[in-house]
Symmetry: C2
Subunit: 214 residues, 2 copies
């Protein structure tokens, strides 16, 4: 499969590298076509890796991952041709973290709205799936590093969620729960304050949340 | 130990009954001294059970549990003599659920504040510990029913948290994490949207969240 990655940070790199290991072709997109981090990653990742602008990566992928800081995608979406993501599975891995008031960050949107919903509104023609936002990059691509937590998936398109869950399985995710529509992104994004709290306590990000049942 | 319970709902009843089984004396408090639910519970629970007003229960307990709906305690606190909870361990089991906008409920406070913090501000002389608010009443008193999830504890007083964790252990809680100060109540209360989502999916409340590590 061709996968587009929007963003050149830790999350984009980790997912891009994992997808290539799994046999996919990956184009990493950023504001400029010759972003330094993307060049470096592309050279290291081999023949199945390429780079380009956000628009290039969006056009390339059958599945496109949002790996941008905070609500950055909402700005990027305004620069894309409305049709470039039409019908595509758009996987939102981002969290609305707001560092403007200092540490710990708060959420720029929560409770009665979510970034996942805002992403779907920004590109109504895309099939948005929210997932992976509840663990750090290393655990995303190696769930064993987080003690095999539960992965949560939500979105309004059942087929899109099935496709994403299938990809997650190949990445090692064993316990995947489909929460329902994209409004359920609220609950997953609202896990972040607790995640940040535990990250501070443990001193590392090798953990996650497992839904257990009696 | 003498334990005061503020509230006569499902949570108050379940905790009160459990504490009596564990050998404690429990006074259940409500707006009026002869609340019908409290009378019924007291008669069923035996010699170690008693009832009274909120003030009576607060005065009785060495440890006092807030088992009231939403932010009700903030109103109740205004009716209490400021000294009645002085130095006492005040365990806040409540969640700021707001049903005024319909289902699912939203949180009346979150993100940059929490009900736990508001409770501590309302009774600064008390040692507030937030816990048990992340599972339903049945799982609170029988963690096996929820698949032995993690229990989260936070508050500004280390000794108070130790006392509460000790009581939780006797109730069957095996995995207890001290998150830090009362501001960490934000993260635990913000678990509620996900909890409500899963409750809807599963059709029962026999579940919880386990923090797993790699």
């Amino acid at each position: 499969m061709n996968i587009g990655i929007l963003g050149t940070g830790m999350v984009g790199e980790a997912l891009g590298t994992k997808f290539i290991q799994l046999g996919h072709n990956v184009k990493m997109g950023s504001r400029t076509a010759n972003n330094e981090a993307a060049v470096k990653w592309t050279q290291a990742a081999g023949a199945k890796a390429s780079q380009g602008t956000f628009a290039d990566a969006a056009a390339f992928g059958a599945m496109v991952f949002i790996c941008l800081k905070g609500a950055t995608f909402l700005e990027v979406a305004k620069t894309l041709t409305p049709t470039v993501l039409m019908g595509k599975v758009l996987v939102d891995v981002s969290n609305p973290l707001d560092f403007s008031r200092g540490m710990p960050p708060s959420l720029s949107v929560c409770n009665t709205n979510s970034l996942g919903e805002e992403v779907q509104k920004a590109v109504p023609a895309a099939r948005v799936v929210k997932t992976l936002n509840i663990v750090n990059a290393e655990v995303m691509v190696d769930p064993a590093k987080g003690g095999h937590p539960t992965m949560l998936v939500c979105g309004d398109d059942a087929e899109a969620k099935k496709a994403v869950a299938g990809l997650l399985s190949t990445m090692g995710w064993r316990d995947i729960i489909d929460l329902g529509g994209i409004t359920e992104a609220r609950g997953t994004e609202m896990l972040l304050p607790l995640w940040l709290n535990l990250f501070g306590l443990f001193g590392n990000a090798n953990f996650g949340f497992k839904v257990v049942r009696g």
